[in-house]
Amino acid sequence: MNTENDRHFDELIGDILEKNLPADVDRRLRWQLESFRCQLIEMDKSGVHRPMTLGRTKRRAVLCLAGVAAALLVGLAVGLLGSAPTWAQVVAAVRAKPWVHATVKTTTGKTAEFWLSAEREVAASRDDDRICFDNYPEKSRYTYDTRKKTLVREPESRVDREQWQSMLNLFDAVFHGDATLSNPLPGTQLVGQKHRTLTEAGRSWTDYQLDLTADSAGVRLTFRVDPRTRLPKSMAFVSTPHSDAPKMASIEAEFVFDYPEQGPADIYALGVPRSARVDDRVPHGELARLLDGINNSRDKFPQTYLAAVSRGNAKALPQFIWRKGEKWRREYRFPRTPEDRAAFKRLSPPPAGPQAAVWWKETTKNWRAMPMEICDGAAIYAQVGKTEKDEWKKIENGASLRLISNYLPERAGYPLPPGSAWSCSIDLDMHPSSGPPGTVLLTSRPAADAATHVRLSRFWVDPAKSFLGVRQEYSDVDPKAGPNRGIDTYSVDGIAQAPNGVWYPTVIHWKSTTGTGSKEESSEQTWTYSIDFTTDIPDALFRIEGNK
């Protein structure tokens, strides 16, 4: 009887919580999932994240060396001195070599090798599945799938560029004698280090051991350095899961370094047949110019401002986005007292345009501010307080904008068109038959090897307005291929200019439609962005206090 009653009770709870899932919400969340999947694929290609796993050995070269360099810097910062060579001397010795080559073997039997030349800004890697060659000055990457026998040339991704730059910065820091490094190895913390000198088979070595901890595992890196040449000979990597990470296996790998005078000049030098047809996905000509224009405007947009971002009607409480370079803060403000709440109900709509940010800031200055996330430039923290008192938890190292990208006007106005990472092809129509006047049309179509849920995207860009995207459309299928299942449209209905002349959207109208005729369902929402570029933004706004 109890079981029966339990079931009915669970059903009661379930029934009350049941609510029809609107088609647009369903699509939107699935789109987020698909974007996430594409992001994973991109990360897999570029080798970011999962630094503690060696199961995937593809193109770990840059990351590995960045890790090595980071470790070297950490050692330098705390001064591991003595009769053994200093870390700085080791780094200098590595840097002096034209090429670094490493072979990697894990306990699971996977092997890979990589080459890296800081001088030429080239990195390459090879394993059973894939051969990669990154040419950073050319901003391109070649990838050869050894099973499908396909060779793809893709534009360099921003992730790759940042990663490469990060590694160069590490080296530069060494040569400039920087004593500290703000973020030596993303996702890990140094918890201990030591070094020792030992003799093995009549040869003398210096072992430098670094203990790091990551989210789910502890990692020990042990570099074996030849004190005579000051060059690392090997690095042992041992990852041990924390006790609360159930059923994760330990991972061990051995990196063996050598320093050849010559390295691969191109991907063909790594064994790719010259007869392989190149699927060139790097934009050329007008398309490249347009994409550069969009990227430049996004990058040039001022990085210090207060934005009030509302979704819904004009009186909807906005979210406040405070941005100052790499630091940012997202907060809500709520009426604190009954008087404030009553006043809120009587509020007239804010003035239209950029003045609304100042109006909201002044109107709500005595309300309760509730920051949701803060990035202090070194890490991102999320609010976890259960009471009015703020409590913070670090959720990510680094200064990424990803978490608030949906609220940033520069991201709304200058979106990243799906590129090669999404297995899309992009076409440019300089004289489109549809869309706002004076615009050109970028159409991104899923390539043959794209994931099944990649959508057709159309971007109308206004070259005369600093390449602002004035209309975006995402549809489930190519109209040429069959009936649409759903279209999301973002129309920019108001624009303004930042002090440096870059345009940005102030009003975006979002409409989502599914079905046709009597079965059509639609949802609409208006997003407003009002920005104050002159407001004083004290650093205290980005300071984390209380429990991290």
Partner: protein
């Protein structure tokens, strides 16, 4: 196919529908649902290794959905309780419910969520995983990292409390403790 892609297709793809629906059932607001999904994906990314190596990765991912959605509604209830009774932005045009039914459904939803928020965290998570996601006790235990008997106890205690607090909502009400 890449490792990430294979893992995604193995672990997450089969439960995409359950992820979407369980988030929606708890937060009921299009923008909040999108925010929750974004946070869920961020957590999945951060804990990728742990999820891949977990005994029941799918229930762990579903628990993350519950946790994030629960946290958001808890904050929302605390800070803007009136918002909970809103129908929510983006309600499909042509909804079959009358305005009165909408209000009533909103009130019942708010009552249930407020009651669940009063529960200890483990109990709240357990009852949501059971009632909203229909998870087995074994899966709940795996996600919580406890024994199955403990998971059963969490759910039973949550039910016992909710029965008292929500007795008036139950048309089959046969008395406190007898449900």
């Amino acid at each position: 196919m890449s490792d990430f892609q294979q893992t995604y297709d193995r672990i997450i793809r089969p439960i995409e529908d359950r992820m979407v629906r369980s988030i929606w059932r708890i937060v009921r607001n299009p923008q909040d649902a999108a925010d929750v999904m974004q946070d869920v994906l961020l957590i999945i990314l951060k804990r990728w290794n742990r999820i891949c190596g977990h005994a029941n990765p799918q229930s762990l991912v579903l628990k993350i959905c519950i946790d994030v959605a629960y946290d958001l509604t808890r904050q929302t209830f605390r800070n803007r309780p009136a918002a909970l009774l809103d129908k929510g932005e983006g309600e499909p045009v042509g909804s079959m419910r009358t305005p009165a039914e909408e209000v009533m459904a909103g009130e019942q939803y708010a009552e249930i969520m407020l009651a669940i928020h009063r529960l200890p965290r483990q109990q709240a998570t357990s009852i949501l995983m059971r009632a909203v996601q229909g998870q087995t006790y074994e899966a709940i235990a795996a996600a919580l990292g406890c024994r199955e008997a403990t998971a059963r106890k969490h759910v039973a205690r949550a039910r016992a409390r909710l029965r008292i607090w929500l007795a008036h909502l139950n048309p089959r009400n046969v008395g406190i403790g007898g449900l």
